[in-house]
Subunit: 305 residues, 2 copies
């Protein structure tokens, strides 16, 4: 993409991130809601630590831009975007635990179990996952009940045993029983792909768009989910730790196979170009309106951190 396009995209990404950060802060600072008894301060602090961390908020961006294609309600979209980010952040908190990836740093800050303790990190993750469904189901997400329940269902499928959590399980097993190419593709479609696919699909659900549009956006999400993971693997293969702000070459060190490692960086770059083309083609019907989403696809595939 051109330098100007890139600046326009990154400024849009930054603005959407600020909006979702404000919404997340509001939700996590709220007093106990109807049906809640009290919100233990240490738990809420750990949840805030895991969520309000200056992330790029790529998934919320995808929700918001997909929703914009269909002129969905802004407030409802923002809440669904915030809910999805809660799920993403919970998964990072649990992934970082000593029993899992055992990471001390995330975005240059101590991980939740380092800043607090392991038990608090487990509970903060649990509470964030639960909160995501609370946010969507709440009447404050001013959507017909049919759409709220469709969002709950799609998110639970994307995040559960047949999606993200299942992918994390396959990833842990991959250190022992090195999966073949098909196995790696399944693993990645689940571990990182499912939630990105949901992000793009969610905008169409919020808007009550026809099933064909919902499916098209979901396919777009799958394409950039693949690109996201491939770009990540490529970075892990080629970048240094300073660029990434986290340890690199961890995959190879852990004996984890990636498609980029299997076929080499040149193959990976070729695949990435193909995925960008595919993603852009899926958005053709939406014309100009889809410009930022197209740039998101390029960004995801070509990012260097």
């Amino acid at each position: 993409m051109s330098k100007d396009d890139q600046i326009a995209f990154e400024s849009a990404l930054f603005m959407r991130a600020a909006a979702v950060e404000t919404e997340l802060r509001r939700i996590l600072d709220a007093r106990p809601l109807t049906g809640e008894i009290a919100r233990p301060e240490r738990l809420m602090a750990a949840m805030r630590h895991g969520v309000l961390n200056g992330g790029k908020r790529l998934r919320p961006f995808l929700v918001m831009e997909s929703a914009a294609l269909f002129s969905a309600d802004n407030d409802a979209t923002l809440r669904v975007a915030a809910a999805l980010e809660c799920v993403h952040c919970y998964s990072l908190i649990h992934d970082d635990l000593p029993a899992m990836d055992d990471d001390d740093l995330r975005r240059g800050q101590p991980t939740v179990h380092k800043a607090f303790d392991e038990a608090t990190a487990i509970l903060a993750g649990d509470a964030l996952l639960t909160l995501a469904f609370d946010i969507i189901a709440d009447e404050a997400t001013a959507l017909p009940a049919e759409r709220r329940v469709a969002l709950v269902l799609a998110l639970s499928r994307a995040a559960g045993a047949g999606g993200m959590v299942g992918g994390q399980m396959l990833d842990l097993e991959a250190e022992r029983n090195r999966p073949d190419e098909a196995g790696i593709i399944t693993l990645q479609a689940m571990k990182t792909g499912a939630l990105i696919r949901f992000a793009c699909e969610a905008g169409a659900i919020v808007a009550g768009a026809p099933p064909a549009d919902r499916e098209r956006l979901a396919e777009f999400g799958s394409a950039i989910g693949l690109a996201f993971q491939l770009a990540d693997d490529l970075l892990d293969l080629t970048a240094d730790a300073k660029q990434m702000g986290k340890a690199t070459n961890k995959d190879a060190a852990a004996g984890k196979a990636t498609l980029a490692a299997l076929h080499g960086p040149d193959w990976a770059r070729g695949q990435l170009h193909g995925l960008i083309d595919q993603a852009h083609a899926l958005l053709e019907p939406y014309g100009e309106e889809a410009e930022l989403l197209k740039e998101a696809a390029t960004f995801v595939a070509t990012r260097n951190s």
Copy 2:
């Protein structure tokens, strides 16, 4: 309760437990559903280990008997009961982790992190929590979308930072900063009370009962939630390990204050009688139909294991 009543109640409890066990097994044995990519076998095995453990299924029983008061749809009720049991079992799996209560045994069997490993136990818990919302939101739970979304909301409030998970956080902190009586009451209302309250309320939601009935059942749930915890504390104070099938006096050993320990066993028994009376009074409007629920209150307050 009379010997005959007790036998009738325990046989009803056993029959409901068998029904929910069958439903849980069916759900956990299902092939990947729409929107799922694959279900990793090791993860599913860990989930089954944590769920299909021959528990008493008290919470599902409360859902089913509450629903029966309002002639709710049986299949939908069973699914909601199964979803709630998934949440209960996820909480046990995470509570048992080394970083939390560090328990090796549950109902005489190795805990999930012992039978599998810690990472798998964390993920199995995460997946069960997610699955609970999937089960409720799915169209197979043949209820109007309004009721499904109301169930998602009530469950997420009962299970999240302002309910069960928050209570677990307070419980961990209680070892350090011994809470006063008000603090203990809040802790227990959250840790064990919130989910039992939801169990009783859920039946009314499934049936689409009027708000006044929903509130009455929720209050009944709060009363027996308190009784449940008080009976547990009393057992911890007075029973031996053989009776309980797990380590006893752990609360005192961990320096955790309980109301039973604070005021003594006689006071606790007096309170339990008061709570049974209160619970029974709340069910008066439902006459004969509420007989098993009344007996559930007595059972919860007087159980010796």
